[in-house]
């Protein structure tokens, strides 16, 4: 019965939600950051989950795992399919370099500080300390695009170059996060008891590539002959599902396999644009499902571990500011860049949520801790980030678009 309600609930909320969320509606700025950016679905999830009505309890969520696997694979694919190298070459190369430096530094700082925090405050050690710190390092390196979208939708920005750079970083930095996450997972796979095997880690990475490559080949072969729009929908849904299921069943990452599959399709498939169009079409619905999962799976416990989200927030803030600061000093853009550029990149969402959910799927004992960190971080950052982004442009450079213009 609960499963039945859950399926119907997920279906209706994700489809209807995709239409009413992320809209160009004008609301007071703080309110707008929570509503219509998707964050509200975390609250709906909490309401339906163990801390609320308990309709989406642990058992039901477990039965809904196939949806989660599919969603993760879809997000990975969506992310990968945007990396068409020919297209990326058209943008200034230093954009990529700035993004890389910012991403790597943020990752290193967040991972290091979380490593310290977990070992000092929670007494973690060994493999679990390593993997949980790296996972949070990876989520910390991601930037969500929602806050930048809110600002650019509501303000006329004079410094277009800076806005374009912020958009670029928020779209691309997740790639580094996923690479770090994949390396971390491979390192964990390389541990055999107390010893570490490099070959084991490399084999894991190789298999991750293959589980992305095989479905990509299937999609490419299927779309080489005449097909209808309906058939292509089957190819795409079937491929992403097969990719996620294959990865999950051999203890690989659906997110990483989806990413590999997407990158290959983006660069080798003749119908990459059609694929992109279709995956983007369902992006919001799938993102909403992930947020509902996050909210419903969360069980807040008031104890010492609540320090961890606070440390994560600070670590991420330091990482973002210093990462962006170093990056723009090394590769000087042709437009004015503020010294606190990193403050404009603190928004967190989509990919970070996917990384955490995937980690929790394979390591359920860390679910509460990681969800507490990510939920508090998303809420705080979504509230603050539009103000911080505006601050980067300065009041004279960002003019509020009036109601009539809007």
């Amino acid at each position: 019965m609960k499963l039945l309600i859950a399926i119907a609930f997920f279906t209706v909320i994700s489809v209807v939600g995709a239409k009413i969320t992320f809209l160009d509606r004008r609301l007071p700025l703080g309110f707008r950051n929570i509503l219509f950016t998707g964050t509200e679905y975390i609250f709906i999830g909490i309401l339906m989950g163990g801390m609320g009505l308990n309709i989406l309890d642990g058992l039901t969520l477990n039965k809904l795992q196939p949806f989660l696997v599919f969603g993760l694979s879809w997000i990975g694919f969506l992310y990968g399919v945007q990396f068409e190298f020919r297209f990326m070459r058209k943008l200034p190369r230093y954009y990529f370099s700035i993004t890389a430096i910012h991403g790597v530094l943020t990752f290193v700082l967040v991972t290091s500080l979380m490593f310290l925090a977990f070992s000092l405050f929670l007494g973690y050690a060994g493999k679990s300390l390593f993997i949980i710190s790296i996972t949070l390092g990876a989520t910390g390196a991601c930037t969500a695009q929602s806050a930048i979208a809110i600002v650019s939708r509501n303000y006329r920005i004079k410094n277009r170059g800076l806005l374009e750079l912020l958009r670029y970083i928020s779209s691309v930095d997740g790639l580094f996060a996923l690479i770090f996450f994949a390396i971390a997972l491979s390192v964990v796979a390389g541990f055999r008891g107390s010893s570490f095997s490099v070959t084991g880690a490399l084999i894991w990475l190789g298999i991750a590539m293959i589980t992305g490559l095989v479905p990509a080949i299937i999609l490419i072969l299927l779309s080489r002959v005449r097909f209808s729009q309906q058939e292509y929908l089957v190819f795409l849904v079937g491929t992403v599902m097969f990719c996620g299921g294959l990865a999950h069943d051999i203890n690989q990452s659906p997110l990483i396999s989806g990413l590999v599959c997407g990158i290959i399709v983006a660069n080798l498939c003749r119908h990459r644009l059609r694929a992109m169009e279709l995956v983007v079409h369902a992006e919001k619905s799938i993102y909403i499902i992930l947020l509902l999962f996050v909210g419903a799976s969360w069980q807040l416990t008031i104890d010492f571990s609540l320090l961890i989200p606070l440390i994560y927030l600070i670590a991420r803030l330091i990482g973002k500011i210093s990462g962006a600061w170093v990056a723009v000093r090394v590769f000087k853009p042709r437009f004015k860049t503020p010294s606190g550029l990193g403050l404009g990149l603190i928004s967190e969402g989509g990919l970070a949520v996917a990384i955490v959910l995937e980690f929790c799927m394979f390591n359920p004992s860390y679910t509460n801790l990681l969800l507490t960190v990510i939920i508090i971080s998303i809420l705080t950052n979504e509230l603050l980030s539009p103000r911080f982004i505006l601050a980067q442009f300065g009041e004279s450079e960002a003019l509020l678009i009036t109601k009539t213009e809007f």
Binding site: T11, I207, L221, Q229, Q230, V234, L246, N251
Partner: protein, 446 residues
């Protein structure tokens, strides 16, 4: 063809590595995500191959599911199929909405005489014919031979009533695939859908007769029939309201309504079952709403009592393909070959008798109603397919008569399986023969 073959080989190879080798550390069970993705792609390839020899796609989906499933290649077990059973419910809701949407009052009125003749003629001839044949054979059927003639007639009537059932889902899938249009198509679809409603009433009557004859102490009472009539009426009324809600969705909430409608249909089906069980268990009230009728009535309302009929069908059709693949491939995978092996002989006999009766019934009805000769000579081919409804009715037979229910189920599942394999091929052949298919139905890429 070569590329699709390569895809199938890659899929089979990947599944073989995951399920048959110890190369990777794998999860205990094959996940439903993998099974569904695999089935969607592999069943599509099977359908593509069969399409090259002019067989309908749904035969390919069913055959694909059967070959890949637990009884042949065994890439996944029955547990995996069970975990995907919610998809069947979703697909049934979708198909029922579409079926109702296909029922256009204008076409129905134009063909009313032919439809009524076919409904009455085919139902009577098939029911009487199959019942008689089974009764005549009953002395040689082990589980029936020990009963008195009246009980044997009652049991034979169960075979007869199940033989009357058709498969609207298969009919709609074939029509959607061939983009068939015309009088023949409209007539066949209308008869199939209306028959889906009538069979529920007919089954109720036959089953209560059997209960009186087989179970000592039972009596045939009028309240049972009134209850049945009430159930159908209330289901239809709920369907009309649901249809108005669907119209509201289309007009005011600009959402992907096929998905939302299917979700609502899924809830209607599940809640109808739950409500039936609850009322029966807690209050001893035997009210069973007919969820498929509710969804059909909703689709019918959108088609005939709103201005969104055409949009409704078009948008439902856009998302239909993956739903049909999943539904029919899972149907194929659920075919129990062990049962087919044990009941195949009687199954074949019933299929043959039913087919002959379908021909006699539809030929006579068509001729008497003044239909085109080309139509009435081919109508029987369109009525062969059987699936979901028949299987659902069989479950009810087993529930009510546990002793004789199992052998009846075994024989009839064999017959239904054969009909499900032959039926789509025959229907496509008939549509081609009357010239109502659209051969240019496939789009080209970009």
């Amino acid at each position: 063809m070569r590329l699709r073959f390569m895809v199938l080989l890659i899929l089979l190879g990947s599944m073989a590595i995951v399920t048959r080798t110890q190369l990777f550390s794998v999860q205990e069970e094959v996940s439903s995500t993998l099974v569904l993705g695999f089935l969607l792609l592999a069943a599509y390839c099977f359908a593509f191959f069969l399409e090259q020899v002019r067989l309908p796609r749904i035969t390919g989906f069913i055959v694909g599911g059967l070959i890949l499933g637990p009884y042949v290649m065994d890439f996944f077990d029955t547990k995996a199929i069970e975990s995907l059973s919610f998809l069947n419910t979703l697909a049934l809701a979708f198909i029922a909405f579409s079926a109702g949407g296909e029922l256009k009052l204008k076409n129905f009125q134009n063909q009313l005489k032919i439809i009524l003749f076919l409904l009455a003629g085919v139902t009577t001839v098939v029911f009487v014919g199959v019942t008689t044949a089974v009764f005549l054979l009953s002395s040689w059927i082990p589980f029936m031979s020990g009963y008195s003639p009246i009980v044997r007639i009652a049991i034979s009537a169960i075979f007869g009533v199940i033989a009357v059932a058709r498969s609207p889902s298969s009919a709609i899938a074939i029509i959607s695939e061939t983009k068939a249009k015309g009088n023949f198509t409209d007539t066949v679809l209308s008869v199939t859908i209306v028959m889906d409603v009538l069979i529920i009433i007919l089954f109720g009557i036959v089953i209560s007769f059997c209960q009186v004859v087989i179970s000592a102490g039972s009596t045939l009472n009028l309240t049972f029939f009134l209850g049945l009539f009430f159930e159908v009426c209330i289901s239809f009324v709920i369907g009309l309201f649901l249809g108005r809600a669907a119209v509201f969705l289309i007009e005011n909430v600009k959402v992907a309504f096929p998905v939302v409608l299917t979700g609502i249909g899924f809830l209607v089906i599940k809640f109808s079952h739950l409500l039936g069980s609850y009322l029966h268990d807690s209050h001893n009230i035997g009210l069973n709403l007919e969820p498929l009728l509710i969804c059909m009535a909703a689709g019918f309302t959108v088609q005939n009592f709103s201005r969104h009929g055409a949009t409704f069908l078009l948008r439902m059709d856009r998302v239909s393909f993956p739903i049909y693949i999943a539904f029919f491939a899972l149907t194929g995978a659920s075919i129990n070959l062990d049962i087919l092996r044990s009941g195949w002989f009687l199954g074949v006999v019933i299929v043959l008798v039913r087919t002959v009766m379908l021909f006699v019934g539809s030929y006579a009805s068509g001729r008497l109603s003044g239909d085109r000769p080309l139509n009435y000579q081919n109508t029987w081919l369109a009525f062969i397919t059987q699936a979901g409804v028949s299987l659902g009715l069989l479950t009810e037979v087993v529930r009510r008569f546990p002793e004789i229910g199992i052998p009846i189920q075994t024989i009839l599942i064999a017959a239904i399986t054969l009909n499900q394999l032959i039926g789509p091929i025959a229907f496509k052949f008939a549509l081609n023969k009357v010239g109502e298919t659209n051969s240019k139905s496939r789009e080209s890429p970009q």
